[in-house]
């Protein structure tokens, strides 16, 4: 019997030892988690994306000699080293290496000095990483990206090719080669599990934070870029066709509801400390200075023009204008209530030749 007992003991001990938790592996990630750049010309916080860091800066910044400091994933290393001085005037790229040495990632550092352009023709786009469409503007050689929720749609598993993403281009242009095309899309079984069964096509001036897109989608849309002009009118062209079945976040169909798009521009004041407005307060914040929202909407196969005034809720102050305290966003969405995941799959909004008429 003693033999048997020791045999059983040996087997049990063997299994336990064999199935022990092993020592933790070194970190495989190589993120820039934060960047600090001490320069009085920098406006607001830097935007840190997965491969890109953007600083908004006032004209007058000396790009020839800056020394940004980085906070990285624990254990990661950066080349060139954090805190060293470099010339950023012709662009600058850093490479971060993971602690385990198996992974590395390049970050482009970009400085935006010009305010946003005032005319948008949606002629410039690229297919980012072979996945989805990314629109950008060129302003005296400086590149400014439009934000959209495309990077989050990747996680629905439905974006197997660029034209399946909610934000894409159309060759049906009012002028030029291309227009913006937004289509409310299904996010499949995973999206439905998360009570986010649809993704409205959207495009806006600002930043989309992919990281929090599933847990706090309203805060994932950070609206606005510094704007140094006084906008007076908002105009452009669109086509809209609502999708067939309007659903809510539980994917329940409402036969009596029809989908509706949204196009608006908001100018807001950052002097109270809010560097950006989000999906939670972009239309309600007390910081809003002026708003122009398309209210008179037409469903049509032909291009329809909108040309509406900015409605000023606060006085426009020249002093704030000159110190870059005003931010502006322009927002397009193929489902007006897409932010709370209500809308109709298939709703399509095409937009082209948008312009902000500003005070000279």
């Amino acid at each position: 019997m003693r033999i048997l007992r020791s045999l059983l003991l040996a087997i049990t001990t063997g299994i336990l030892l064999y199935s022990c938790i092993q020592e933790e592996a070194l970190n495989a990630e190589c993120d820039i988690e934060w960047v600090n750049l001490d320069d009085e010309h920098i406006i607001g916080e830097p935007v840190i994306e997965n491969n890109l860091i953007i600083f908004q800066a006032r004209p007058g910044i000396d790009l020839n000699s800056l020394s940004p400091e980085f906070i990285l994933t624990p254990g990661a290393k950066i080349m060139p080293e954090s805190g060293t001085t470099h010339d950023f005037s012709t662009g600058m790229t850093y490479t971060v290496f993971s602690e385990d040495g198996n992974w590395s990632k390049e970050y482009e550092i970009r400085f935006n000095l010009m305010g946003p352009k005032t005319k948008y023709s949606f002629e410039n786009y690229e297919i980012k990483d072979g996945k989805f469409c990314l629109f950008y503007e060129l302003n005296n050689g400086e590149r400014q990206d439009w934000a959209s929720g495309n990077s989050a749609f990747v996680f629905s598993g439905g974006g197997t090719s660029p034209e399946l993403f909610p934000t894409y281009y159309s060759e049906d242009a009012k002028e030029g080669r291309s227009a913006l095309k937004l289509v409310t899309s299904s996010t499949g079984a995973w999206g439905a599990d998360l009570k986010k069964p649809i993704a409205a096509g959207n495009l806006f001036l600002g930043t989309f934070v992919t990281t929090t897109a599933l847990t706090n989608p309203l805060r994932a849309t950070r609206f606005g870029k510094p704007f140094s002009l006084k906008p007076l009118r908002f105009k452009g062209w669109y086509k809209y066709k609502p999708g067939e079945f309007f659903t809510d976040k539980n994917n329940t169909v409402f036969y009596d509801r029809e989908d509706d798009f949204d196009i608006y521009a908001v100018l807001y004041d950052t002097s109270n400390g809010n560097n950006y407005l989000t999906g939670e307060n972009i239309l309600t914040s007390p910081d809003i200075v002026a708003i122009a929202r398309v209210e008179d909407k037409v469903v049509s196969d032909e291009y329809v023009q909108f040309n509406i005034p900015f409605n000023y809720l606060q006085n426009f102050e020249e002093e704030k204008q000159n110190s870059y305290k005003y931010n502006l966003t322009v927002v397009f969405s193929s489902s007006k209530t897409g932010d709370i995941f209500e809308g109709a799959v298939g709703s399509t909004l095409i937009v082209d030749e948008v312009e902000l008429i500003c005070e000279e």
Binding site: I21, N102, A152, G188, T210
Partner: protein, 257 residues
């Protein structure tokens, strides 16, 4: 499947209680006894894990483990040669469990119920539920250590009749593609499900060792370890980057005719 096994175990228990009072074996049993043949009916629970061995570095912590109700019923024929015996049986059994593990940088491909696929590296919690039904043939050598104790060594071959391997991830983040990809956080009740049931191997086999203790004239209490050596997933399944094996202990009793 579970219902069939439950029903079968109920029949065994009833039979056992009927025969337990019978001190006069039938003619058939007498005939068998004279030729060194013995018949057994067994019922028990499978407790164990379908697990990678050793645990890969990606697994940081087992948050919880639930053996769930996994039943096995078995009919055996034993041929005795003095102290040695040879057993062949037929077993209907479930092997399964539910685990909740915390992982770091766990390479996985998630397939949704509507066939969408995301591949990437997950850091956070993973819940796995396994529930497989097998038809198993054990072939064992028996040895009587004493009047009451008996040990067995041999092998088993299983055919999987129904398999289920599914679960979900929660509270963590996914990096799309690889550790440098876009990152998305899952918090609160956000979860993504996966289901690899169709990728399971049909066959399973491995060594089996056991011990039986004769509690009463007709009733043995038994414990058997079955160690599957065939990875549970098909060889072309690469989503989970390490092989997993079913390792279970069966605890139960046998009615000996």
């Amino acid at each position: 499947m579970k219902k069939i096994i439950l029903l079968a175990s109920f029949i065994i228990v009833s039979l056992a209680s009927v025969f337990a009072n019978d001190d006069y074996p039938s003619k058939g049993l007498q005939w068998s006894y004279l030729r060194g043949l013995e018949y057994r009916l067994k019922a028990g629970f499978n407790i164990g894990g379908t697990s990678p061995l050793p645990l890969p570095q990606e697994i940081r912590k087992i948050n919880s483990y639930d053996p769930t109700l996994q039943i096995a019923v078995e009919a055996d024929v034993v041929k005795w040669f003095d102290k040695w015996g040879m057993l062949v049986g037929l077993r209907l059994e479930n092997k399964g469990m539910k685990t909740d593990a915390n992982v770091k940088n766990y390479g996985m491909k998630m397939t949704s119920t509507d066939g969408k696929v995301i591949e990437g590296n997950w850091t956070g919690n993973v819940v796995t539920q396994v529930d497989n039904s097998y038809l198993t043939v054990p072939v064992l050598a028996l040895y009587k250590l004493s009047r009451r104790w008996e040990v067995s060594v041999g092998a088993f071959l299983s055919y999987q009749m129904k398999g289920s391997f599914h679960g979900y991830v929660y509270e963590g983040y996914l990096r799309e593609g690889n550790p440098t990809g876009d990152k998305v956080v899952f918090e609160d009740d956000a979860q993504a499900t996966y289901d690899f049931s169709t990728e399971l191997n049909r066959f399973q086999a491995g060594p089996q060792v056991g011990v039986q203790w004769k509690a009463f004239k007709h009733l043995n209490i038994c414990a058997d370890l079955t160690w599957g050596v065939i990875p549970i997933f098909k060889s072309d399944f690469e989503t989970i980057k390490f092989d997993m094996y079913p390792i279970y202990v069966n605890l139960g009793f046998a009615y000996v005719f």
